[in-house]
C-alpha cells in the first residue's frame, strides 16, 4: 500500500478519529476510566461491607479542602478548554497563556492535596490504619499522580501550542477533572 493510499484511508484509527486530539490519548482515557471505575466500585463495595469503619475514616477527612480542590480543578479545566479554543483559532500565544493558567491551578491542587495528606498523617492515619484509609490514599494518590502527569503533558503541548497537540493534552486533563468530580462526593461526602 502506498503512502497516498494510507492518506486516503485516514490514519487507521477508524471511529476513534472522530474524537478531539490524537486517537492514542483516547485509548489511554478509556483505559483510565475503566481502571478508576473498578477502583471506585471496590471502594463502594468495601464501604457497604464496613459502614462503621468508613464512616469513622470519612469523619476525619477535610471535605472543605477537597471542595476547594474541586473549584481549582474545574477552573483549570475551563482554562484548558479556553486554550483548545485559542489553539483551534491559531492564536498560539493565547493558547499558551491559558495552558500555563491550567498548569498553575493544577500545581495549587497538588499543594492543597499534600497539605491535606500532612493533616491526615499528623492525626495518625496511614495506608494501614483501616480499609478506608488504604483505599483513600490509593485512590486519591493515584489520581494525584495523574494530575502531575497531566501538568507534564500540558507543558509538552504548550511548546508548539498547535491545535492537534493542545486538543490531545487537554483531553487528558479533562479526564483527570472528570475523575475528581466523581471521586470527591463518593470518598468525602456520601454517607456510608
Amino acid at each position: 500500500m502506498s503512502a497516498t493510499d494510507c492518506e486516503q484511508q485516514g490514519t487507521g484509527w477508524g471511529i476513534l478519529e472522530d474524537l478531539p486530539g490524537d486517537p492514542m490519548i483516547w485509548v489511554l482515557i478509556f483505559s483510565e476510566l475503566a481502571a478508576f471505575g473498578l477502583f471506585l466500585g471496590a471502594f463502594v463495595v468495601a464501604r457497604a461491607l464496613h459502614p462503621a469503619v468508613f464512616a469513622a475514616g470519612q469523619a476525619t477527612l477535610d471535605a472543605q479542602l477537597a471542595g476547594i480542590n474541586t473549584i481549582l480543578l474545574v477552573t483549570s479545566g475551563w482554562a484548558a478548554a479556553r486554550a483548545t479554543a485559542a489553539a483551534r483559532a491559531d492564536e498560539r500565544g493565547r493558547a499558551r497563556g491559558w495552558l500555563f493558567g491550567a498548569m498553575a491551578l493544577g500545581g495549587v491542587f497538588i499543594a492543597v492535596k499534600l497539605f491535606e495528606y500532612a493533616g491526615e498523617i499528623a492525626l495518625g492515619n496511614g495506608l494501614e490504619t483501616s480499609p478506608f484509609f488504604t483505599l483513600y490514599f490509593l485512590l486519591t494518590g493515584f489520581h494525584l499522580l495523574h494530575v502531575g502527569l497531566g501538568i507534564v503533558i500540558l507543558a509538552v503541548v504548550s511548546r508548539g501550542a498547535r491545535a492537534a497537540g493542545v486538543e490531545t493534552g487537554t483531553a487528558f486533563w479533562h479526564m483527570v477533572d472528570l475523575l475528581w468530580i466523581v471521586m470527591f462526593p463518593i470518598i468525602y461526602l456520601v454517607h456510608p
Binding site: 466500585g41 471542595g67 461526602l189 456520601v190
Partner: protein, 87 residues
Amino acid sequence: MIPDRLDIAWIMLIGLALATILVPPLVARPLLANGLLLIFAALKGRHIVLDFLDLRSAPALWRGLVSAWVLIVVLFAWLASAIVALI
C-alpha cells in the same frame, strides 16, 4: 464581554461545586443527601463531557460511552448506600 458556552459551563460547575459542599450541613436525611450529592456529580460530569471535552459534537457512541461511565459510577454508589441504609 458576553459569556460563551465554555464560560457558562464553568459558572455552572462552580455553582454545582458550591451546592455540593452545602449539602451535608443542610440535608440531614442520608439517602436524600447522597442522592443530591451524586446528582450534582452527574451534572458536573455532563458539563465536562459535553463542553470541556467537547464531545457534544462527537459521534453519539463516544458521547454515550463517557456519559454512561459517569452515570454507572454514581448510580452504583447511590444504590450501595441505599441498600446499606435499608438493611
